[in-house]
Symmetry: none
Subunit: 224 residues, 2 copies
C-alpha cells in the first residue's frame, strides 16, 4: 500500500442508519476512505467482485445472507481482503463461526471512533483485531469444549501402588535396570512387578505396555 493511498473500506449493514453513522465517524480520518456502503451480504460479495476494498466492515445479522456467509465468499474470492465483523452482542456461536470463516477481527457496535480506526488500520496491516472480551469468550468455549471431549480413561485399578508407579516409569522408557537403580530395589523385583502388571493388563511385553500406556493416556504423545 502506497502511503498516499487511503485504506479503502466497504460498509455492510442492513440498517442504513448505522452505515451512515460509521461513515460519518470515518469521514475525517486521513488514512481511511469509505468507498462503498451496501445493505446485504449478497451485495457485499458482488461489490467486492468489482471493486476491491482493503477492508470490509460486515454486520453479522442481516436479512438474507449472513455476514458470516458473506465473509466466506469474499475470503474465497480474495483472501487478502480483510474483514471486520460487527455485532450487537458478543455471542459464542458467532465468534466461533466467524473465526472459522476467516474474519480478521471482531467489533462491538458501540465502538468509539478511535477503536474503530485502530481496528481498521490494524487488520489492513495484516494483523488481527480481537479484544479481551472476545478472547475470554473463545477461551471459555475452548475450555468447556476441550474438557467435555476428553475421553474417560478406564483405570486399571487392580494394580497396586507400586505396580502403578512402575507402570508409569516403564511406559516412559525406563529399562528394568534403570528402574532398579532409581527405586533402590533389585532387578528381580522389578521383573516381578512387571510380570504382574503384564498379567493384570493382559499384555505380552514392554512394547505392548507402551502402546497400552499411550492409548490410556498414562503417558502423553506430547511428552515423546
Amino acid at each position: 500500500m502506497k502511503p498516499d493511498n487511503k485504506i479503502k473500506v466497504l460498509l455492510t449493514d442492513d440498517h442504513k442508519l448505522i452505515r451512515e453513522g460509521i461513515e460519518a465517524m470515518l469521514s475525517n480520518t486521513p488514512d481511511i476512505e469509505v468507498i462503498g456502503s451496501v445493505g446485504s451480504g449478497e451485495d457485499a460479495v458482488n461489490y467486492v467482485r468489482e471493486k476491491r476494498p482493503d477492508v470490509v466492515l460486515m454486520d453479522i445479522v442481516m436479512g438474507g445472507m449472513s455476514g458470516i456467509e458473506a465473509t466466506r465468499w469474499i475470503k474465497d474470492l480474495d483472501p487478502s481482503i480483510k474483514i471486520l465483523l460487527v455485532t450487537m452482542e458478543i455471542s459464542k456461536e458467532y465468534v466461533s463461526a466467524g473465526i472459522k470463516s476467516g474474519v480478521d477481527g471482531y467489533l462491538p457496535k458501540d465502538i468509539d471512533k478511535k477503536m474503530l480506526v485502530d481496528a481498521i488500520k490494524q487488520v489492513s496491516r495484516g494483523e488481527r483485531y480481537f479484544n479481551e472480551a472476545i478472547m475470554k469468550l473463545v477461551f471459555e468455549e475452548f475450555y468447556t469444549h476441550e474438557k467435555l471431549k476428553s475421553p474417560i480413561n478406564k483405570l486399571p485399578n487392580d494394580l497396586t501402588k507400586r505396580e502403578f508407579e512402575i507402570l508409569g516409569l516403564v511406559a516412559s522408557g525406563k529399562t528394568n535396570k534403570e528402574l532398579a537403580e532409581m527405586l533402590f530395589i533389585s532387578i528381580k523385583t522389578v521383573e516381578t512387578h512387571k510380570t504382574h502388571i503384564l498379567e493384570k493388563l493382559n499384555l505380552k511385553n514392554t512394547n505392548e505396555l507402551i502402546k497400552y500406556a499411550i492409548k490410556h493416556k498414562i503417558i502423553s504423545i506430547d511428552s515423546l
Copy 2:
C-alpha cells in the same frame, strides 16, 4: 468447606528445592495448609488416593508420568480435587493438553506469594485461574487451528521404502523373528534394517521406535 478448615494443598514437583520454596511461601498463610509434598506424578496420584487434598499444585515436566497425565488420573479419581499446573514457560501444547486433562488453573513458576495464594483460594472455591497471557495463547491456537486445518503429516526422514515398511510392522508389535518369517528374509536382515532405522531416526531401541511411530501417526492409536 468449613470456615475453620484450612485448604489442604499437595505439592508435586521433582525438584525438592521448588517444593520447599513453595511450602515456605505458603507457611504463614492462615487459610492454607500444605499437607504433603511429592516428587513425581505417580506419587501424586497415589497420595491423592489415600489423603484427599483440596488443591494439588502440579509441576508439568517431571520424570516419568507428566503433570498432565497425573492430572487426568486424579481428576478421574475425584473431580472435586482442584489442580493447578505449574510451569516454567507457557507453551501452547501444555496449555491445551492441560485443559483437556481438566486442570483448574495455570501458574508460572516465578509467581509471587499473593498470586499464589489468590490462585489457590480461587480454584478451591470452584473457580478457574487463568491469566490473560494464557487466554490469549488459547485464542491464538483456536484461531489458527480453526482457520488453517493443515494436517499434513510428512515424514522428514530419508528412510528407504523397505525401511519404512519395516518401521510400520515393528511399531505394530512384530518381533524380528516374525518379521523375518512374514517377509521371507533372515533375522539378520531384519536387524540390519532396524539398526539403520534407529540410526536415521536417532532412536535407541524398539520402545522408542514405537513411540515415534505413534507420534508421527505411522500407526494409529485406534489400532492399538
